[in-house]
């Protein structure tokens, strides 16, 4: 009886399907990542060149709750397009209702980060990164063997994997291919180049006086006239991040043992990296509150207060973090400039939206 039950799948089980996809045509169409004209050409791993089929599959996987233990969450849960691919929470909550310890990072321009992903840089490529949330107990909390089984049993995915990667049967669906597809899609999440600042840069729009003054302080373009807001060191144009790791004085910890979250040091095991976190992009900064790795600053004013104060002084605080002397008007002007970094186009881009909600 057991043998009979076990042999009854959905009629589409993975175990007896050798070569079951070979009848489906495989002819992937090469794709190019669309980027603003002032961005570097995006490199990608030689073994994961973008194709229309790979990107489509990745987009579907990104938005499909099939990747979570109870099929309620997916990548999209912590990376919402309307919030510049963050989730609006101080820290993210996983399928078990457990709060993670870190805030969701924006995915816009993520394909340009080759200095490590996550706040601590523990994944070196998007292909590696995409594997981790699935098994993280405070995120999707399942296992890849389970997900592979679900994908192989699906009525849709085997064909999509075939078209994207040329697999011959559904048993060849692996976590590595799923991660490749997700990475291909994530590399399409690129700024449109049409924020107000971007249009100004291309001589296609004006900044008003306050925005212009704010820009000059942000990049210290008038050092003899305006104060240096010191932003550009870690949040430089065009991505508005250097993707480097800093202790920005957000923690009051003075010694390595005092850090609740050891940040990059937890991954590198270098005590000098304890308390360092990756500088996120300031593009769309007005949409990504609360701020900092732990979501401890609830709004942009709190962020300005933090940086103007220079943060908590300590030996570990980065040398770039210093007190910033702006008066009330100058502070408002820097904020006015930051608002010009909002990219409405990328928030509305239908090629990045949830394909299940057409």
């Amino acid at each position: 009886m057991f043998a009979i039950l076990l042999s009854c799948g959905d009629g589409n089980g993975p175990d007896d399907m050798t070569g079951d996809l070979e009848h489906i045509a495989y002819g992937p169409q090469p794709a190019e990542y669309k980027i603003p004209p002032f961005y570097p050409k995006m490199d990608f791993p030689a073994d994961n060149a973008p194709t229309k089929e790979g990107i489509d599959l990745g987009r579907r996987l990104f938005y499909d709750p099939i990747l979570s233990r109870d099929s309620t969450m997916g990548c999209f849960s912590c990376h919402k397009q309307e919030l510049a691919f963050t989730d609006g929470g101080a820290t993210s909550i996983g399928v078990d209702g457990i709060k993670g310890r870190r805030s969701s990072m924006s995915l816009i321009d993520i394909g340009y980060n080759y200095k490590g992903l996550f706040w601590d840089g523990r994944a070196s490529t998007l292909e590696q990164q995409a594997l981790l949330p699935v098994e993280d107990p405070v995120e999707l909390h399942t296992t890849w063997p389970e997900i592979e089984l679900r994908l192989r049993r699906s009525k849709t995915y085997p064909e999509l994997f075939r078209k994207a990667f040329g697999i011959k049967d559904r048993k060849e669906i692996t976590k590595a291919l799923a991660a490749k597809a997700i990475a291909q899609f994530e590399r399409t999440i690129v700024s449109s180049g049409k924020s107000k600042f971007d249009l100004f840069k291309q001589n296609l729009d004006f900044l008003d006086y306050d925005e212009s003054e704010g820009l000059d302080m942000y990049f210290d373009k008038q050092p003899f006239i305006l104060p240096d807001a010191q932003c550009g060191h870690c949040h430089n144009d065009p991505m508005f991040t250097t993707n480097d790791y800093f202790n920005n004085g957000i923690s009051s910890a003075r010694f390595a043992s005092e850090f609740i979250d050891k940040g990059r040091g937890e991954f590198t095991k270098d005590t000098n990296d304890i308390g360092k976190f990756r500088a996120p992009s300031l593009r769309n900064i007005m949409l990504t509150a609360p701020y900092m790795h732990d979501g401890s600053l609830k709004d942009i004013d709190a962020v300005m207060d933090h940086y103007m104060s220079g943060g908590h002084p300590s030996t570990r605080r980065d040398p770039l973090i210093v007190q910033i002397h702006l008066d009330d008007i100058q502070r408002k002007q820097v904020l006015a400039f930051l608002k010009t970094l909002t990219d409405e186009e990328v928030l509305r881009d239908t090629t990045l939206s949830n394909p299940f909600k057409r």
Partner: protein, 252 residues
């Protein structure tokens, strides 16, 4: 028939007697770069005496360009452009002692009398921008392009200082160099042998940071000058970059 046989052997003779012009002998060369402080390996995040005070280095990186070996009119190009970052390698004594190694293949063998190289970017390269390069290229790194200059940051020197000798390193220094006029070519004179019979030809070059932090003949007062990355501190950048020639040394 005899003529044909003669012609056949004549062609064979001509073919076998044609030798290719001999390729010059070459060997691989390693450039070993180390960062020192007062002659000792500089370990980042560790105290270094600075007059009556102490400093710690946390970051030191620069663009190395146009490196050549010279002997009279003869020269061998070693490096066009390389990004040199000591931040990770100098985090331990072993790493700081070993330094960084650039491997240069197929260098013409011989004895050279000097080596020269640029710190920073020549004018034409400095006129480019990150968008001109693929994203993984060092010149695509936004962290080394300064919009205020419309050019690249040639080098970054960052760290902390304790001006009260109390162990309080809360304050930092950040010196970022750039601008065309601060691209400096360093020439170091010393016999350098590239020997085809040796498996390991190495040129050891050290850079002593203590010699860099000097302006107008005296050690830079970090309490007074602790940030330079633009025209308002142009004299500091000029002083730092002018010191490269004396701070670099061949240690072979």
């Amino acid at each position: 028939m005899k003529n044909l046989i003669f012609l056949f052997f004549a062609v064979i003779f001509l073919i076998t007697s044609c030798k290719k012009e001999e390729e010059p002998a070459t060997a691989d060369l390693k450039i070993n770069l180390t960062l020192t402080y007062d002659g000792n390996p500089l370990v980042f995040n560790q105290n270094q005496s600075y007059g009556d005070d102490f400093i710690k280095m946390t970051r030191f990186a620069f663009f190395l360009t146009n490196m050549n070996l010279r002997q009279g009119q003869d020269s061998a190009r070693l490096v066009d452009l390389s990004f040199v970052d000591f931040t990770t390698s100098s985090s331990t004594l072993a790493g700081a002692t070993g330094g960084l190694v650039l491997k240069v293949p197929t260098v013409k063998t011989g004895t050279y009398s000097s080596i020269d190289f640029g710190i920073g970017l020549p004018k034409a390269v400095n006129a480019t921008k990150p968008a001109d390069y693929p994203s993984s290229h060092p010149l695509a790194d936004a962290g080394y392009y300064w919009a205020g200059w419309n050019g690249y940051i040639f080098s970054k020197m960052e760290g902390k200082y304790d001006s009260s000798a109390t162990g309080d390193f809360s304050n930092g220094y950040t010196f970022h160099t750039g601008l065309d006029e601060n691209y400096k070519v360093v020439k170091l004179t010393s016999p350098i042998h590239v020997d085809g019979n040796k498996s390991d030809n190495v040129v050891h070059i050290s850079l002593d940071v203590k010699k860099l932090f000097v302006m107008n003949g005296v050690q830079i007062d970090l309490e007074a000058v602790n940030q330079a990355h633009g025209p308002s501190n142009a004299e500091v950048i000029e002083a730092l970059t002018s010191n490269y020639q004396s701070a670099f040394e061949i240690k072979n």
